[in-house]
């Protein structure tokens, strides 16, 4: 490996997060290098969403330090938006702008945030729609698309900003089973192209084939962190074992 692939893009050190008196994250330490793919799993309420939402500051952490490509996350609004430009996010519930066509959804932030011209934004949008295999839907509104198609649009929308990091928060949990694969395929392609990714997901097939490391969280802590082979075949912690036996049994 050369230097550039070894560069650390995300550093979390001693990160904690409280919601009122409730502690959602406890002493989180995590380093993600350029090109790494991390899968995060764990029971409901364990803090997975909170963890990745802290990375683009949709949640503000209380203690510790988060560095994104060398920039520390603080309260400076300018800096936050500069960081967010570089970090794409895909939500469980798609969150496409319902009042805009698919094409407009993909062009909006390019024009407003990246200050890219309309024609160039449109070209980029169409390019990424082709990448997620739905160029023919460009003029439709989100509601006219299936869930799987909407999620692929959401991925394309994030990619249009040419992010260095992509965050996925259970991107397939809201989908009917027959649509899950079309979204996972797009994510696998993205992984192959070398995108740095953190995915909260319970799709263990995806974790096995794509992840460099799998992280298991419980009660706001990172309990276990290992390459997928080790993680699935020889989990160290009993809580991990219980969790795996539960989700792999069905």
């Amino acid at each position: 490996m050369n230097d550039s692939t070894n560069k650390t893009l995300i550093t979390m050190e001693g990160v904690t997060k409280f919601f009122g008196p409730f502690q959602a994250l406890k002493n989180i330490n995590l380093k993600v290098r350029k090109g790494e793919k991390i899968v995060v799993c764990g029971p409901s309420g364990s803090g997975k969403s909170t963890l990745i939402r802290c990375i683009n500051r949709l949640e503000k952490h209380n203690e510790g330090q988060i560095l994104i490509d060398g920039k520390e996350l603080t309260d400076q609004v300018k800096d936050i938006n500069a960081v967010r430009r570089e970090v794409g996010m895909v939500f469980q519930s798609f969150n496409l702008f319902p009042h805009m066509t698919i094409l407009k959804n993909l062009m909006l932030a390019q024009q407003l945030v990246r200050k890219i011209s309309k024609t160039e934004a449109k070209d980029t949008a169409i390019k990424y729609l082709e990448r997620v295999k739905i160029p023919e839907q460009a003029e439709k509104y989100p509601i006219q698309l299936s869930g799987g198609q909407q999620q692929r649009v959401a991925i394309a929308r994030a990619l249009c900003m040419k992010p260095k990091i992509m965050l996925f928060d259970e991107p397939t949990s809201a989908l009917d089973p027959e649509m899950i694969n079309e979204v996972l395929e797009v994510m696998v392609d993205l992984a192959k192209e070398g995108m740095t990714m953190i995915c909260v997901t319970h799709e263990m097939g995806f974790a096995r084939s794509v992840a460099d490391r799998v992280i298991f969280m419980d009660m706001g802590e990172i309990i276990e962190e290992a390459p997928p082979k080790e993680f699935f075949n020889n989990p160290q912690n009993t809580r991990t074992r219980n969790f795996l036996s539960q989700i792999l049994s069905h």
Binding site: R85, M89, A109
Partner: protein, 234 residues
């Protein structure tokens, strides 16, 4: 009791001469009220207590008191003060129409700002998070996400408020304005035929209301085209 149809036929055109004033009151107060409402809304959602609190008080007072009292305070009350009579606003406040427009705008502004706020609160948090995640500024999120969606959500309630405003314009007649109701009251005073006159007046307002409803129905359909699953036939 006899019902004089002939009288209705005769007085309807006379009442319609007041239609212009009714429409003028409705449109000018409606527009000014909407502008005021947007200011109040921005104060309400600014997150700054020193903007939020005065706006909230304003809304509380203007929604908590009758529009008639507000009209009377402006028309009968304000001229009590030397300052008002000497101010640049006196040419407006001296005229009953100016007073009616002022009172109606202040009143409808309070109601409409709450309606708009309902729309803003109805915008799903996830969409704004998506905007944030794309690096959009608070201003861009408001202009490109919140405002258009909130407008669509607030429209049905807003059309109801426009209809309320139409009905409130009738109160202008209590401060000597010759709108449709004012003219009707004059005719009733002359003819002693309240049933014929007021019932036909009510029907005119009803038709007016129907028109407003239809108009907003069209706007709603246009602004809400993205909420319909089927591809429109083109």
């Amino acid at each position: 009791m006899s019902f004089d149809l002939h009288l209705i036929v005769e007085s309807l055109p006379v009442m319609m001469m007041g239609l212009g004033i009714t429409i003028k009151l409705l449109i000018i107060s409606g527009v000014l009220g909407l502008v005021l409402a947007i200011f109040l809304l921005l104060m309400r959602i600014s997150g700054k207590w020193y903007l939020n609190f005065p706006a909230q008080m304003y809304i509380y007072v203007f929604r908590g008191t009758p529009i008639l009292v507000q009209i009377f305070i402006v028309y009968y009350g304000l001229p009590q003060f030397e300052v008002v009579r000497d101010s640049v606003f006196w040419p407006i406040l001296r005229e009953p129409t100016g007073c009616a427009i002022l009172a109606l705008s202040l009143n409808t502004g309070a109601y409409v700002s709450e309606i708009l706020r309902g729309g803003v609160l109805g915008v799903s948090k996830g969409l704004l998070e998506a905007g944030s995640a794309l690096g959009m500024s608070a201003y861009h999120k408001f202009v490109y996400i919140t405002a258009p969606i909130a407008t669509r959500l607030a429209l049905p309630a807003y059309s109801n408020d426009v209809i309320s405003l139409l009905k409130s314009t009738a109160l202008a007649s209590t401060i000597t304005i010759a709108d449709m109701t004012g003219i009707a009251r004059t005719i009733v005073a002359d003819t002693y035929a309240p049933y014929e006159i007021f019932i036909s007046l009510a029907i005119v307002y009803l038709i007016f209301t129907f028109g407003i409803q239809k108009l907003f129905g069209l706007i709603e359909r246009y602004l809400g085209r993205y909420t319909i699953r089927e591809q429109p036939h083109e």
